[in-house]
């Protein structure tokens, strides 16, 4: 789920998967059970800002990156992912955020999360700590440098190790992953061509190609495993409440 990175490079499937925004699309569920039929209407209510933040954060320990979809403009995408620009850094940094996307009707006064985006003049995106503190509102006019600075500030305060440096290391892996992905596609096509050949198939060659495919896929799996380990950085423990 989530948008695929718009980057100048055409990435292979492994890197593409890592560069997919991992959006959470929260839907507020009332606590009480209800029965509905075709005619009954249940009224919804806006939560307080604090309650809305708490609900969105859930049990995810990461700082928040919250975006609202917009009915009349494309600001949602522009605010975070600039068409034509290199979004890879943004997407990578977002992995250390709990990325939340809210629907267009969040602007309605009775929407449970309306307190976060009260009206049309509200920003389309903000980053904040998990409890909503240190909020930085952002817009489509925000430059990439300002966006990354805001993200870095929040990340630096939230994590025990700097994710920005880790993101740079991970980005270096993408070109190698692309090479391996391309190799798998070429080998699979070669195997298909050998199996579907008009002439007598070379079974030894098919077997060898199959082994090369397996080997390359193992290399990809090892790289992905290493990258996933790099993504795991502990958040700083929350400060105890003041007495």
């Amino acid at each position: 789920m989530g948008g695929i990175a718009r980057t100048p490079h055409q990435r292979g499937p492994s890197a593409k998967d890592l560069l997919r925004m991992q959006w959470d699309f929260p839907v507020y569920k009332p606590v009480e059970a209800e029965k509905t039929d075709a005619t009954t209407v249940r009224m919804r209510q806006a939560l307080s800002r604090e309650a809305a933040i708490t609900y969105l954060a859930g049990t995810d320990p990461r700082p928040l990156l919250v975006v609202r979809e917009c009915r009349v403009c494309n600001k949602t995408d522009d605010a975070l992912l600039t068409p034509g620009a290199d979004n890879e850094r943004t997407i990578l940094l977002s992995r250390w955020f709990h990325c939340v996307k809210l629907p267009v009707d969040v602007l309605q006064k009775d929407h449970p999360f309306n307190a976060l985006f009260p009206d049309k003049s509200s920003e389309h995106l903000f980053v904040a700590q998990r409890d909503g503190a240190s909020k930085v509102p952002l817009e489509s006019a925000t430059s990439r440098t300002e966006l990354w600075a805001a993200m870095s500030t929040i990340l630096g305060a939230a994590y025990s190790k700097d994710p920005v440096a880790v993101a740079k290391e991970i980005a270096k892996s993408f070109d190698r992953l692309d090479v391996l992905d391309k190799r798998v596609v070429e080998l699979e096509q070669r195997r298909d061509d050998l199996m579907e050949s008009d002439s007598k198939p070379d079974l030894a060659k098919i077997k060898k190609v199959g082994e090369e495919i397996d080997g390359t896929k193992r290399d990809i799996a090892r790289m992905l495993d290493s990258i996933q380990k790099q993504f795991r950085i502990d958040v700083k423990p929350e400060a105890p409440a003041a007495k």
Binding site: M1, F25, E69, R71, C73, P103, Q189, S197
Partner: protein, 410 residues
């Protein structure tokens, strides 16, 4: 129920995460702007006589599934711009935006044929030039779904009467009481433009977070929710590709809903039949047959010569090789093509009682442990084919091979 949803989602997750073919160019950035739909259908004007002529029961609001109103869905996905249509056998919701035709000749030809059939349902119908507006897309899908249902009933010698207890013939052997192939409620379909809408809906009502699409059993109906965003995300831009995927997945639901069988039908038959349906629309887009398309625009979608060469080169085992599949990702590209070929051949084979075949394959599993499924599907498939054709597996296999050798172009 949760276990069943997870079974289907495991298949789906494999579809979404297995490496997709790289399209020739990146799809354009998603336009997340909502499109303003006309509140009243411009084709029927909402009139009751016009709706009757179109074969429609309601434009909503209505109960979508047990405990789920159309208003609940609108609230969950965050928009009230949903087109709702209830037909004889389906409840359909659509947030699909206007589709601009891309100049694909095959797609244009198929649409002209569909317009010819759709025209008879409306008092006035002027086929649009160059685009399909949201209401027209909904009408087209309503027509496609009902045509699929009719095809399914005709192909397997079923009828609405036998599922309606008030009209069932006295000598009917049908065992279930649900009016919709055995399900108590109509089949439900949500066609969503945005992936975010799909996930919001599934989170609210299923506690799941699908990618691209999800099939599930909600209350007493078999449901499908699919996002156009998700399908475009894998490089399939044409409306015909989206249509192929919708109808292929709905075929799975018809089989899962038949006599409330729910995942009882063996995978080789489900995927084989779904591929038959999809390829009847447009052979280029058998989307769930992952690995069969090498490059967009090449000839890899032409499966007959590929199957023919696989057979000639000795890479095809017997019928039984397909029977034991229990997971989607067990199916190799060659397996998809062979399942399609065998099912298509069976459906047309003289002396194959398709009704018996369907009945014997779609018997509910009754808490069968996962570890027993492969063996069970193999035994069930063997017995079903014997009963439906009067022939053993070896004889059938030989017959199919002769058919391929004679009829498939090389």
């Amino acid at each position: 129920m949760k276990a069943f949803v997870l079974v289907l989602l495991a298949e789906l997750f494999a579809v979404a995460t297995v490496q997709a073919q790289v399209p020739p160019q990146l799809p354009p950035a998603a336009d997340t702007r909502d499109e303003a739909f006309e509140k009243v259908d411009p084709y029927t004007k909402g009139g009751s006589a016009a709706m009757d002529r179109a074969g429609y029961v309601s434009f909503g609001p209505f109960l979508f599934a047990e405990g789920v109103k159309t208003q609940d869905i609108e609230e969950a996905i965050g928009t009230s711009t949903v087109i709702w249509i209830e037909t004889a056998h389906f409840k359909l919701g659509s947030t699909l935006k206007t589709y601009k035709l891309r100049g694909d000749q095959k797609e244009a030809k198929r649409l002209r044929e569909e317009f010819g059939r759709l025209e008879k349902r409306f008092d006035k119908f002027a086929p649009p030039r160059g685009k399909l507006d949201p209401w027209l897309r909904a009408h087209l899908f309503a027509q496609r779904l009902e045509e699929l249902y009719t095809w399914f009933e005709q192909r397997f010698h079923l009828s609405d009467d036998e599922f309606d207890p008030t009209r069932r013939p006295k000598d009917s052997t049908t065992r279930t009481t649900g009016a919709y192939l055995g399900m108590p409620h109509k089949f439900t379909v949500l066609l969503l433009e945005k992936e975010s809408s799909l996930v919001r809906f599934a989170k609210r009502f299923l506690d799941q977070e699908p990618k691209g699409y999800v099939r599930w059993r909600l209350g007493g109906s078999m449901a499908l929710a699919i996002s156009a965003d998700g399908v475009r995300g894998y490089g399939y831009e044409l409306e015909s590709a989206f249509t192929c995927m919708v109808l292929a997945e709905e075929t799975h639901n018809l089989l899962d809903g038949y006599r409330d069988a729910w995942t009882a039908c063996p995978m080789w038959f489900k995927y084989g039949l779904a591929h038959v349906v999809s390829r009847d629309i447009d052979e280029r887009w058998t989307i769930s047959a992952l690995g069969t398309t090498r490059e967009f625009g090449d000839d890899s979608w032409k499966w007959q010569p590929r199957v023919g060469r696989l057979l000639a080169n000795g890479f095809v085992k017997g019928f039984e090789d397909l029977f034991g599949w229990t997971k989607w990702d067990e199916i190799k590209p060659q397996g998809h093509m062979l399942a399609w070929s065998r099912v298509e051949w069976l459906l047309d084979r003289k002396g194959c009682d398709r009704r018996v075949l369907l009945d014997e394959l779609c018997v509910p599993l009754l808490n069968l442990p996962e570890s027993e499924r492969a063996r069970h599907f193999a035994e069930r498939s063997r017995a079903a084919l014997q009963k439906a054709t009067g022939a053993g597996l070896e004889a059938l296999d030989l017959e199919w091979r002769e058919y391929v050798a004679k009829n498939y172009a090389k």
